[in-house]
């Protein structure tokens, strides 16, 4: 046995490797991204960044049918994209094991919603495991593969930010199982025409009953008996918060959470007059426990939004646990917080911002001058929403910007109240998200005679999640050379009438081309192409400087929202340590007051 400090994501990758995973697929998304990157450190498995989560799962389904243990990873909202194959995969089964990792994000550290993906296990009728630390993540992924093969179903490993991105000690074996199952044709089982699917659905329900027996026996579900007065039920990382806040409480720690071990829950409940259910987000456990006829307190006390921590768990339950036990605070001690300076309540916020030199900035500057209606997507450019750029109008999910733009255009076309706005509609999205989910929307614009302009902010990488390659970059996850999808050719091929490629560091060209395309009654695709500035830190450049004599403090440059442009004693200056030399501010300045350091000015 070896011991190492590992993040939950590293532990999942290590567990999958040791379980003999031969295929790993994913689309990057916080907090799941590092799982596949860690798996790719091992030479044996085939690993791929897929164009989106649906394709990742589809490749995974094929691989599992083909006899290879397969790991498919995504963030919680990625499973919405992959939900179509997910719901029917459980009907056809897997052959070799398939584990889908859904990394949820309570508190939305880097997400657009905080949906609770435990319901995806219920909907698809598949078993679910929830680790509470890295050791369990390692063990559960290994157990999940055995479970998947024994019951011929995919398994949902539901993890979350504080498991993925926390490090804790893991004991592991230096080993790799060999799993290589024969593929045999069985079309009644695997071709889901209605007649076959009607046969498969009852089979799946029967499996659920056998899986419930597994849950009853599972070592991941255990009753830890301490206090005879207080019984708490919890799963995932919340177990850690419960143990810290109420160290004396008895705890039913659930790790195999679908189907639930009802006998075990009844047995545990029999020791207490009621149960306390501590879970993040939805009352998943609570509602099921109450439906079993057990008195339980959950979301009436424990917050349903945001992430929990030992404080919030303690605060939620201290007074009722005190009533049960007679122990002050139920054993929880509130934080010692006396004497904190009042100014802490008034600190300026530090929202994430587009980097100095970000190639997206020029596009948003041009769009704001045009007063465009901008439907946006998910990526670094979403940060343009903050003041002073306030560059986008709406944003929901990856790929949605394109379809939403067409919808806005069609609504404006038949509107009195919004007359003229149909010629102002723009969709923005990244190169990776265009391939992920934008291309079908673009086909819709062309097919249904729309003229909304689609702008691909093509920075040659998947930036927000840490610079993963994608099909447009010509590189695989392992850095191998491959065909580089040409977005401009793709646009022409689907019938876009005007395809333009611009350099977003050239403000004049960017403004002119966007003026021409946004107002025109033809389909148009503008590709604003320049590599992410974070990836090109080693390039040669000179920072810029403001000539205080020439500057009249008009404030025009400050509208760029560049963190390198600062107000010092009321005047604008460039922080040379932050400046990336993009020159946008100098291009904008009407008085020529901003010039390259060491340049002619």
């Amino acid at each position: 046995m070896r011991r190492r400090l590992l993040s939950g994501n590293e532990a999942i990758a290590l567990g999958a490797y040791s379980a003999g995973v031969r295929v790993g697929t994913a689309y990057p998304g916080t907090p799941s991204t590092e799982i596949l990157e860690e798996l790719a450190r091992f030479p044996e498995p085939y690993v791929e960044w897929s164009p989106n989560e649906k394709v990742a799962l589809e490749v995974g389904m094929g691989a599992a049918l083909g006899g290879a243990r397969t790991l498919v990873c995504m963030k919680h909202v990625g499973l919405n994209v992959a939900a179509d194959p997910w719901m029917t995969l459980s009907y056809i089964g897997v052959n070799a094991g398939l584990v889908l990792v859904s990394a949820d994000d309570p508190g939305m550290h880097s997400s657009q919603n905080e949906q609770d993906n435990r319901y995806y296990a219920v909907m698809a009728k598949v078993p679910m495991l929830e680790p509470s630390d890295s050791q369990e993540a390692y063990e559960m992924v290994r157990a999940a593969f055995r479970l998947s093969e024994e019951h011929d179903v995919p398994v949902l490993l539901r993890t979350e930010t504080r498991v993925c991105h926390s490090r804790s000690m893991v004991e592991y074996r230096q080993e790799r199982e060999e799993v290589d199952l024969p593929y045999e044709k069985d079309y009644v089982k695997r071709v889901m025409v209605p007649g076959h699917a009607r046969l498969r659905h009852p089979v799946l329900i029967a499996k659920l009953e056998r899986l419930r027996e597994e849950a009853e026996r599972s070592p991941f579900n255990r009753a830890e008996m301490r206090s005879s007065r207080v019984g708490m039920v919890t799963s995932g990382v919340c177990y850690q918060y419960v143990r810290e806040a109420f160290p004396e409480a008895s705890v039913l720690k659930l790790g195999f959470t679908h189907p639930l071990p009802e006998k075990l829950i009844h047995e545990f409940a029999s020791h207490f007059h009621r149960l306390y259910v501590v879970e993040e987000l939805e009352p998943y456990l609570e509602e099921r426990i109450k439906a079993m006829g057990i008195d339980a307190v959950g979301k009436a006390r424990v917050p349903r939004t945001g992430e929990l921590d030992p404080d919030s768990v303690g605060r939620a339950l201290a007074d009722i646990v005190e009533m049960d036990t007679g122990v002050r605070g139920g054993g929880w001690s509130p934080p010692l917080q006396e004497g904190l300076p009042p100014i802490l309540n008034e600190l300026p916020a530090r929202p994430p911002v587009m980097c100095p030199g970000c190639p997206h900035r020029g596009v948003f500057h041009a769009l704001s001058r045009m007063k465009a209606v901008v439907s946006s997507d998910i990526g670094c450019y979403t940060l343009s929403v903050f003041s002073p750029i306030e560059g986008i109008d709406c944003q929901v999910c990856m790929g949605a910007s394109v379809g939403m733009a067409l919808g806005l255009e069609k609504a404006f076309l038949s509107s009195e109240a919004n007359r003229g706005k149909e010629k102002k509609v723009v969709a923005v999205l990244g190169d990776s998200t265009f391939i992920h989910g934008g291309i079908t929307g673009l086909i819709d614009i062309v097919y249904n005679r729309g003229f909304s302009t689609v702008i691909i902010l093509d920075n040659r990488t998947t930036a927000m999640t840490g610079f993963q390659p994608h099909p447009g970059t010509g590189r695989t996850i392992r850095g191998e050379e491959t065909f580089a999808l040409d977005l401009a050719e793709l646009g022409r091929a689907v019938g876009v009438e005007s395809v333009r490629v611009i350099d977003p560091w050239d403000l004049e060209e960017t403004g002119r081309v966007l003026e021409e395309e946004v107002g025109a009654e033809r389909s148009s695709l503008v590709i604003a192409r320049r590599g992410c500035v974070q990836r090109e830190r080693d390039r040669e450049y000179s920072p810029y400087r403001v000539d205080a004599e020439a500057c009249n403090d008009c404030g025009l440059c400050m509208r760029l929202g560049c963190p390198a442009l600062v107000k010092r004693e009321g005047s604008v200056a460039v922080d040379e340590t932050l400046c990336a030399g993009c020159s946008l501010c100098a291009q904008l300045c009407r008085r020529g007051a901003i010039a390259e350091v060491g340049g002619d000015g």
Partner: protein
């Protein structure tokens, strides 16, 4: 056992500093947990890492009022995380100011007296110019090693364990500068 909160902004090397501290605690035989921030917040937003060690650690998140040490990689972010400090906890402040956008825009004031405010709450606060010390050590980017060095001076772990941890975690090309930065921070503590 001890709890350490590290506060700063994206790109300051906080994740590396937290990993070094955690690795040292592992080598000292403790149970260790950390928590990190990835993704959107790294784009210039507030970043917090936490490291905890002891006989057994449950939550990876440190409750407010529990931290033994607060490493403020930036003044304002140090203030923001002051509520994590327990009474009698120690603060190490990097004398570095990075204005957030609302301040750059002139919409909010930077708390210029952050050091006095922190000292008022936490007497014994150690203030160092980690960026300048890193520059003197050969690379301004190793300021996080300087901060780890300063923390090491307040902990009872042998210097060679710290060096081993740094050697394990830092890539070869940046190793010497990080070791020099660490040593400078340790002397300053």
């Amino acid at each position: 056992m001890a709890d350490v909160v590290m506060a700063g902004t994206g790109g300051q090397g906080i994740i590396l500093a937290a990993r070094i501290v955690a690795e040292v605690a592992v080598r000292m035989g403790y149970d260790v947990k950390t928590s990190e921030v990835h993704g959107m917040a790294q784009r210039g937003g507030s970043v917090v890492s936490m490291v905890r060690w002891g006989e057994r650690v449950f939550s990876p998140l440190i409750p407010r009022g529990h931290a033994d040490f607060l490493l403020a990689f930036e003044g304002l972010e140090g203030l923001r995380c002051l509520p994590f400090l327990k009474p009698g906890g120690r603060v190490i402040v990097n004398l570095y100011r990075l204005d957030p956008l609302p301040v750059l825009r002139g919409d909010a004031d930077y708390p210029q007296d952050y050091l006095e405010i922190i000292r008022g709450f936490a007497p014994g606060t150690l203030a160092i110019d980690a960026v300048e010390m890193a520059r003197a050590a050969g690379n301004p980017r190793v300021a996080s090693a300087v901060m780890a060095g300063a923390l090491s001076s307040l902990l009872d772990f042998p210097a060679d364990i710290w060096e081993e941890a740094i050697r394990t975690l830092v890539p070869a090309r940046a190793l010497e500068a990080n070791l020099r930065g660490f040593a400078a921070g340790r002397r300053a503590g």
